[in-house]
Structures are given as structure tokens and as C-alpha cells.
Amino acid sequence: MTTEEDGWKVGVLFAHEGVTRLIERSQYRGVLLAINEINEAGGVLGRKLKPVIHDPRSITSEYGRLAQKLILEDRVNVIFGCYTSSARKEVLPIVERHNALFFYSTLYEGFEYSPNVLYGGAIPNQNSVPLARYLLNNYGPRFYFIGSDYIYPRESNRVMRNILREGGGEVVGERYLPLVTDASAIANVLEDVREIQPDVIFSTMVGQGSIDLHRCFAEAGFDSKTMPIGSLTTNEAEIAVMGPEVSAGHIVSAPYFQSVESAANRGFLDRYEKIYGSYQDVTSCAEAAYTQVHLFAQALQTTQKLSTDMLREAILGSVYDAPQGLVRIDPDNGHAYLQSRIAMVNEKGHFRIKCESIRPIKPDPYLVHPQFNDWSLKMREPRTSS
């Protein structure tokens, strides 16, 4: 693979329109911030990173088409992009066929490995078990599942159901709504919730659907203190749109929150704010996307060329001091050792971390039954809380 003299071209594939635009914009910004930082510091080996940007507009088939375009027309072999699993599945065969390197920065349901993908988000053994345990211990055993109707929510719920069964919980309801849905459909589901009276709602609604669910929940007069919505996907960007009166009291499990206390995170948020005016929409996916660009640049520093095979070898096993803490790429499976944290939205509409893993958790993408009592998932109070 040849590179142009003036820079290292990398592809960027996040939606700026459509249902998942909010979260994808935050990932996009994470990528561009990292590229910006690297270029300000002189680039890699004196050459700048040059992003080639396409907008798949949240349309699943567009991700595949544009990945192909990036590789064949723009002559790029490194791509950062995608939020939903269905978009990833579009890109996967293309990067495999052309032996490109694809950085996927979203949490997903596991059960995948491709030598052409580096997975930067959390998988069920890293986020579902801690969340289930926290909700069971603090709110009660009766869970109601509400999800968007695609692969991630269904698989995520299968995992959750197994964990709950082991921990003595039960699933008292399970409903799926289309990715693009309206308030009346959600209100309909919430009527059922009112009748069944679960202890917890476990939501895998994504994007606009998640925002609508929280709004309808508040409008219907439910109380998050006694029946919170627990989620793996709700993030700062969505909460900012919801506002504190809608989002307060709900629970999220993720490797990263804005409120992580570390020098790396403070620097990250400062620089983000300087470029984008505010860091309100920084999410764990944005942090993962940002971290992946730095891991890539580190590798490029040693390989000195954009060779997929050399880059892969250099990245596997590498470590980066990310905003969430130390992140290491597991050489066994291309996923990342990540932190696990549980946070609750406070009355100001910010995530307040309730507990976190003692050390990064090894990714186990093919784990059928995560163990409820996995000792490696021991949690502690956050190191410093304000």
C-alpha cells in the first residue's frame, strides 16, 4: 500500500444524519479530536493524518457501500466507523476481502472475531454482569426488557436473562420496538409496565428511541428512584438532550463516563471543549473512538507504513493511557481490556459513578454464559468522587 507524500490517509465513517446521528457524531468528534492532537504534535513520523470522511446517514447499506468506496476509490486501508452491529456486518466482508483494518468503537453483543477488525467497545462479560448485579442488589429481582428491534438488543437480552436467572432475578416482560418509533408505541409498552410493576426496566433502546423512552417514562409519572431504567447504551449525548428532569435517577454501565477522575480524562475533555465548544456530548463510544485513533497512531509510529498486517501485529497487545484508564488490546481476540463502571444520573443531569472495576476486565467475546459471581468483576467505590 503506498501513501501520498503529504499525509497518512484514514477513512472515517460515521453518520451525521438519521437515527443514530447523535451518538455517531460523538464518535466522529472523538476520532477527529485524536487526529487533531496527533497532527498538532507533528503527526506520525513528520506526516499528518488525513481523514477521508463519508456520511452513511444511518442507512445500513450505505456503510458497506462507502467502506468499499473508501478502499477502492480513496485508496484507504484503515477505517474508523460504525455504531450499530448491522452497520458493522455490512463493512466486515468488505474489509476482509480487501484486507483493510477496521476500528469499531461501539459496545456490541460479542461472538465475533475478524483479523481485520479491532473492537474498542465493551462486550457482555465486561458490562452486562456488573449492571445486572447492581440493579438486582439495589432495586429488586423483577426486570422488564424494552429494546429496539435489531440484533444487539435481542442478544444483549439473552445474556441478561441468563445472568438474572443465575442471580435469582426474573424477566417479567420483554418488548421490542422498531428502530424508528413514536411516542404512542412507547406509551403502549409503558401501560404494560404499569400493570406488571417491575423493579427495574432494562432498556436496549438506542438513539432517538432511548430519548423517547425516558421522556415517556417521566411523562407517565414513573419514579426512577423506585423503578429506574438500567441501560448499557444510554450516554451523555442522549442525557444532554433529555435534560435532568427526565434523566435523573437512571442507571448506566459503561467503561467510561465524563466524570472519571484522571489527568488523562481532564485533558481529553479540555481539548474536546476547546474544539467543539462543549464536552456535553462526549460518550463512552466517543472515548473508545478517540482511544483507537491513538492506538493506531502508536502502531504506525513503529510500522512506519500503512500495511494492514504490520499494523495489526503492532496494535495487538499494545497499551494506551486512555481517558477511562489503561486500555490494552487483547492479542488473543482483538478486543480491548476495559474498565467497567456503573453510574447514576444526578439531579444536574450528570453521571455520577457509583462503583467501578478494580482493574480492566479481559474481553471474552465467545462467552455464552457470563457468570453472575465472576470474581474478576469485583467492584469498588470510585477512587475519587466529588
Binding site: 472475531y113 462467552l367 455464552v368
Partner: protein, 214 residues
């Protein structure tokens, strides 16, 4: 049932019989990611290591003699076998059948698909094992029924009684001697054959008829 099968895929002991190269390395890693213990050997070993649950093996032409000897026989506790093929010609296809392969992975092997092939192979192998056990059970049962019928006829002939009475005798003998009706029936048949053993012609005829029934 399907859930058990999927759960059961972790922690299997997997033997990979392939010449050691890059693609074998990739296969070993993927099996490891899935959560199984994988070891590689080449060529096919003299005997299958104890505790082997599953074998991935390249179907060579000609077939490895050890593989034919160890896998080409009917056996209830044979391990699950996934064949790896580089060709689809008739000799390789014949190898798939002769070695009783449960499923086939085509070269070049991609990590995607290994898990579902393992599941399919496991499912096919366990179903076959179950069927084989069931078949043996039924075979034994039919033999027992046949024996008891034979014994009843012997008693009916000797004592000029009907079938129900003959069965009653066998059952009460079994209870008195604290043994099974099958064993009493066998004793009756043995006694009859010893008693009539003085007539060699008769015995040969009876043995003949028994082989026919089998």
C-alpha cells in the same frame, strides 16, 4: 436441549490434526477464543488421546491409515470429527464418508463459521450417539422378548399348558430365585438344548433357526 449444546461448546478438548502452518495457527487461536483447549498434532497419532471431545482433521488423499483405523469404525464413544478440506474431488468426498466426518470446513478457514461448524458437528455426533444407544437398547429388548417366547414354547410343549400359564411359571421361578425372567428363560432354553443335545440333528436345526431370526 439446544441451550445445553451451545453451553457445552466451551471447555471441550479439541485435537487439531493438520500440518503446522499459519492457517493451523489461526484455527487454534479461534478455537481458543471460543473457550476450548486446542492442541495440534501431525500426522494422525497412533491413538486418540484420552479425553478428546472433538477432532479437526485435514482430509488427505490417500487417507491416513491411523485415521481410518481409529475413526472408520462404528463406536458409541467416537469423538466428534470436523473435516477440513482443500479439494472437493470424489476421493476427498469418499474420505468424508469413510471417516464418519460430522461436518466439513472448507479451506481457507476463516474464523467466522468455526463456532457454528463446531456446534453442527457436536449436534450431529450427539444425535448419532443417542440413536446408536437407543438402537442397542431396542436390539437387546427384542432379543429378550424372543428368548422369553422361546422358553414359553418349550414349557408349553413339555407340560401341555397355554402361553399364560407358561409365562406364570417363568415369572414365579424368577421371583423365587430372585432373578430376572430373562435369566430363567435362558436357563429353560439351555436345559432344553442340553436335554435334546443327545440328538445332534435337532440342535443344528434349532441353531439354524436362531441365526435366521437374528
Amino acid at each position: 436441549m439446544s441451550g445445553d449444546l451451545i453451553d457445552g461448546l466451551r471447555d471441550l478438548n479439541v485435537l487439531v490434526v493438520q500440518p503446522h502452518d499459519g492457517s493451523t495457527e489461526e484455527l487454534l487461536k479461534q478455537i481458543g477464543r471460543i473457550g476450548c483447549n486446542a492442541t495440534a498434532v501431525w500426522p494422525f497419532p497412533q491413538s486418540i488421546p484420552d479425553g478428546t471431545d472433538m477432532i479437526f482433521m485435514e482430509i488427505t488423499h490417500p487417507l491416513d491409515a491411523n485415521a481410518v483405523r481409529l475413526l472408520g469404525v462404528e463406536s458409541v464413544d467416537a469423538p466428534t470429527v470436523v473435516g477440513i478440506i482443500a479439494y472437493e474431488n470424489p476421493s476427498v468426498l469418499k474420505g468424508i464418508i469413510d471417516l464418519k466426518i460430522d461436518t466439513v470446513l472448507a479451506k481457507p478457514i476463516r474464523p467466522f463459521g468455526v463456532l457454528s461448524h463446531m456446534l453442527m458437528a457436536r449436534s450431529v455426533c450427539l444425535a448419532r450417539r443417542r440413536d446408536e444407544e437407543e438402537l442397542q437398547k431396542l436390539r437387546r429388548k427384542i432379543q429378550a422378548i424372543q428368548k422369553i417366547a422361546d422358553a414359553k414354547f418349550i414349557l408349553m410343549r413339555h407340560h401341555s399348558i397355554n402361553e399364560t400359564e407358561a409365562y406364570k411359571i417363568i415369572r414365579s421361578q424368577a421371583m423365587a430365585k430372585r432373578t430376572s425372567t430373562l435369566e430363567i428363560a435362558q436357563s429353560v432354553i439351555n436345559a432344553e438344548s442340553i436335554l435334546s443335545g443327545m440328538a445332534p440333528h435337532d440342535l443344528t436345526a434349532r441353531m439354524q433357526s436362531q441365526t435366521d431370526e437374528d
